[in-house]
């Protein structure tokens, strides 16, 4: 379905609002393809269209939601009636309300690449098979492939509301990803690699394959290390995961609920002065860039930390109203099933001017962290306490030394922000809402033997 058809459905739902009701309708459609290759053959090929509608109703300050995975007229009517009924059970909240148009015009981003719509199925299959083959050939120690996938999606969404917001858009995305296994008699390691884009032509298959192979083999022979406090150097992939967490604590939702250690601290120094962080929501180079947010407001750049000083939070219409400010265009909706929450689009740190190699050499003695595990179980977003499983390479005399695995690194996020000692120039994009770069943080506890 195209955005115009979806917009008509959204408009029709909104037109059924009764006096005094605020109604917002989100209609989404996607066509997805997934190919998994194994041992040179197609293990599975999935092809499907899905669609859904989500309705939010606010009546007398009470909110109700309803969604359906079908778009026929009867379902839409039932969905609206359910939302209306649900709203009657909510608590009255003077701040409840939909987003209001704020006059900010969305930037023109080209998120839809027509070439994907006409892409050849055989070519998609070839990519998955070739990805598997390249990884297997990448190193003699690769002994297996857990998955080698090609996936793409053509998506369209439309939103309409009784407050006068009407927006529709379309987007394409493609993904190649592989999980590989390497080992010898004593040791097994795993590694993944991926490449993303908006059409097949954007994909860098060799890069994805190489990443997976390297991630696998560099940890072969790694061992547990003795516990100590040291400087950690985070790989951009790890940094991006930490930045996602910090952004979660800077979301208006955490802040207004008293669940953020950064609540009420705008204007205070919360990080090293070298650190500047913002949500660069409309950066066209990012796979997660967006022109409009989950409530139909224009996405925009949101400053969060300026030279170590907290400059503000991310807000949707509701959290902004509670906090007495304006939405930053940061409403995020997981799908048509979810109420709009708050979240970033493209979190970035202002890059420094050192390369990863220069940072490693400057740190001299430390731990280069390639990967972390258990981030969400290991971080208390309220207190900021943090401990995560980690693996990587010990840095000695400014050079990479022995591999380390099965250790944890621990601190608090607040302390880590203050102890940043070097910021890399290697800004890297990922297929999630945070970018990364090499980041060195002093005085972190590594727990091992």
């Amino acid at each position: 379905m195209n955005p115009e058809e979806l917009q008509q459905i959204a408009d029709r739902i909104v037109s059924m609002a009764q006096p005094g009701e605020q109604v917002e309708a989100v209609v989404a459609w996607s066509r997805d393809t997934e190919v998994r290759a194994f041992e040179g053959e197609v293990e599975h090929f999935v092809s499907a269209d899905s669609a859904g509608v989500g309705i939010r109703m606010i009546s007398q300050g009470k909110q109700g939601l309803s969604w359906a995975g079908v778009l026929d007229d009867a379902a839409l009517k039932e969905c609206l009636a359910e939302a209306r009924d649900n709203a009657s059970f909510g608590s009255e909240d003077p701040n409840a309300g939909l987003a209001e148009p704020d006059g900010v015009e969305p930037e023109e981003l080209s998120l839809f690449d027509e070439r994907l719509v006409h892409a050849d199925t055989e070519e998609k299959i070839r990519l998955a098979i070739e990805l598997e083959a390249q990884v297997r050939a990448g190193d003699p120690r690769i002994f297996g492939i857990e998955s080698a996938d090609y996936a793409d999606s053509v998506m369209a969404t439309a939103l309409a509301s009784t407050t006068g917001i009407r927006r529709s858009s379309a987007e394409t995305s493609v993904y190649l990803g592989v999980y590989a296994l390497a080992g010898d008699e004593e040791d097994t390691t795993t590694g993944f690699g991926f490449s993303v884009g908006r059409a097949l032509q954007d994909l860098d298959l060799a890069f994805a394959a190489q990443e997976a192979v390297q991630r696998c083999v560099r940890l072969l022979g790694a061992t547990k290390a003795p516990s100590e406090r040291l400087t950690v150097v985070l790989h951009p992939y790890v940094t991006s995961q930490f930045l996602s967490l910090i952004a979660e604590m800077l979301s208006g939702e955490s802040v207004i609920r008293g669940r953020s250690p950064f609540a009420g601290r705008v204007g205070e120094e919360i990080a090293a002065t070298s650190l500047t962080m913002f949500d660069d929501a409309t950066d066209p180079l990012s796979p997660t860039a967006s022109d409009t947010d989950g409530e139909g407001l224009a996405c925009r750049k949101v400053p969060l930390i300026d030279a170590g000083v907290l400059s503000g939070y991310l807000h949707n219409a509701y959290t902004a109203r509670v906090a007495g400010t304006n939405s930053t265009g940061s409403a995020q909706r997981g799908s048509h099933r979810a109420a709009p929450g708050v979240g970033p689009h493209v979190i970035k740190l202002m890059p420094g001017d050192l390369s990863a190699e220069e940072i490693i050499s400057q740190v001299g003695d430390g731990f280069l962290v390639h990967d972390i595990a258990g981030l969400h179980s290991g971080v208390n977003p309220v207190s900021g306490d943090l401990s995560v499983g980690a693996d990587g390479v010990r840095i000695r005399g400014g050079e990479l030394a022995e591999g380390i695995r099965e250790v944890t690194i621990g601190s608090t996020l607040q302390r880590m922000l203050g102890d940043v000692v070097a910021i890399g120039s290697d800004l890297t994009y990922f297929p999630w809402e945070s970018t990364g770069l090499t980041l060195a943080i002093a005085d972190v506890t590594m727990s091992g033997q």
Partner: protein, 464 residues
């Protein structure tokens, strides 16, 4: 949901290009939830999904398509897409007569959540909020969630299977934040069972609220967790997720088949301490991971995976079992009709032993007592895992002493299994879980008695 002649014609369309196996999975699911935060009922949400997934297997290759259009024309269109998506050369199959699968329902649902007035669900949330806040002025924030779902499935395939099931689940969870001089701490508690609203005849939301609030308050006084390798005692119920993650995933036949499991090729070997018997059981009435038939139409089973330390069997879905010429173990599950089934756990637990919990503790000179583990993840190929400790204490001189702040617990699955040197007689199931694998989430249960892991676990604390 679908008439038998329609099913026959759709399967025929799916197998029309020469298939070894074809299957229809139809699903209708209604869910509702209510959320309380900051003292207010923030919103009620209800949703419904309906559709069918069609799978066609030709040789080693599977084609899959799904549709929300359950008309015969819609299903046949999806069947044709799935048939053309499957690649390879099959021997072809003819459809035999469909045989209805007679699987016992694991339990009866007494009160359908859909029949309960929404006002009653809201009342539970408000009550929980009040009870949690009544635990002390330190409780500064409370959020709570009520959710129920009603899922009807129909599975039919060219092997002649025709099965239906109705799965009802009800869940309540609460999270309390306590604030003090040392900052903020959270405490959580949840209960979820494959039953209807009668859940609340057995469980008082007030008790859940008090437990969550007390967890948060206790942690205010907690000291940073130590770091390094130490002896760990895991409390009843709260640590089952470790066996789910650290052992269960490695026993899934799809991962084993790809060499992505440390347990591959080890059937019949001693893989754990002789105190360990590990079971996966989809038949446990009322538990979060139970059902009558799995999402491939196979009746739920109780499967012993490790018996007295010896690896007895893996868990199987239809596809992997077919390739090995054996029967599925009833572990073929999927998130929804939009997903392909794969090998998944149901309720995974470690059987109780003979020691009393007191004996185990008093025999432990020093270490950490974990009464509640949070989420975690495992690398099945290496067995390395990590979990959050959401409630833990120091053990000193055979006694539980001070509470510890949150930290992660890391270790290696096979290493932990061989290091278990005491298993208690106080088996308990843990809270409801959602297991994620390859992008799909399914409801699972877990359970453990008190047990001690003598070595091999590292606490990742923040204390120097």
């Amino acid at each position: 949901m679908l008439e038998e002649p329609t099913i026959q014609r759709v399967l025929a369309a799916a197998a029309s290009r020469g298939a070894d196996f074809a299957e229809i999975f139809a699903e209708e699911k209604r869910s509702s939830s209510a959320l309380l935060d900051d003292g207010r009922i923030e919103e009620l949400t209800s949703g419904r999904d309906r559709g069918a997934g069609i799978r066609v297997v030709v040789g080693e290759s599977t084609g899959f398509a799904h549709t929300s259009d359950l008309s015969e024309a819609g299903l046949i269109a999806a069947a044709e897409t799935a048939a053309s998506a499957a690649r390879g050369s099959g021997t072809g199959t003819t459809i035999v007569d469909l045989d209805r699968v007679n699987a016992p329902r694991p339990n009866l649902v007494r009160i359908m959540p859909g029949d309960v007035p929404k006002a009653k669900k809201v009342e539970l949330l408000l009550m929980a909020n009040e009870m949690a806040r009544a635990e002390g002025a330190a409780i500064t924030q409370v959020s709570a969630r009520y959710a129920d779902s009603h899922r009807r499935i129909l599975v039919a395939n060219t092997d002649g299977t025709l099965g239906t099931d109705e799965q009802v689940k009800t869940l309540f969870s609460i999270s309390a934040v306590a604030s003090g001089d040392t900052g903020m701490q959270t405490g959580r508690e949840s209960i979820g069972r494959s039953v209807g609203f009668e859940l609340f005849d057995t469980y008082e939301v007030g008790d859940l609220a008090r437990t969550a609030a007390q967890r948060a308050i206790t942690k205010l006084a907690a000291r940073p967790a130590p770091s390094g390798e130490m002896t760990v005692v895991i409390g009843p119920g709260g640590g089952g997720v470790m066996f789910h993650e650290a052992c269960g995933h490695g026993l899934e036949a799809d991962l084993v088949g790809k060499g992505a499991s440390v347990f591959a090729g080890r059937l019949g070997e001693q893989v754990a301490s002789s105190l360990v018997t590990l079971v996966d059981d989809g038949t446990m009435g009322g538990e979060w991971g139970c059902f009558a038939i799995d999402d491939e139409g196979r009746p739920a089973q109780r499967n012993v995976l490790i018996q007295d330390g010896i690896l007895v069997d893996y868990m199987w879905d239809g596809l992997r079992a077919r390739a090995e010429g054996r029967a599925s173990s009833g572990n073929g599950r999927r998130q929804s009709y939009q997903h392909l089934p794969m090998v998944r756990m149901t309720n995974t637990y470690l059987l109780g032993g003979t020691s009393t919990p007191d004996q185990i503790l008093s025999d432990t000179e020093s270490g950490v007592y974990i009464s509640h583990l949070g989420g975690g993840q495992v690398n099945t190929a290496t067995g390395d895992f990590v979990f959050g400790m959401t409630e833990a204490y120091l053990i000193e001189g055979g006694r539980i002493t001070e509470p510890l702040r949150e930290g992660n617990l890391i270790g290696n699955g096979p290493g932990v299994l061989t290091s278990i040197d005491a298993v208690g007689n106080d088996f308990a199931m843990g809270g409801p879980g959602t297991c994620g694998k390859d992008g799909q989430g399914v409801p699972v249960g877990d359970g453990v008695p008190t047990l001690r892991v003598a070595s091999g676990l590292t606490i990742g604390g923040t204390a120097a």
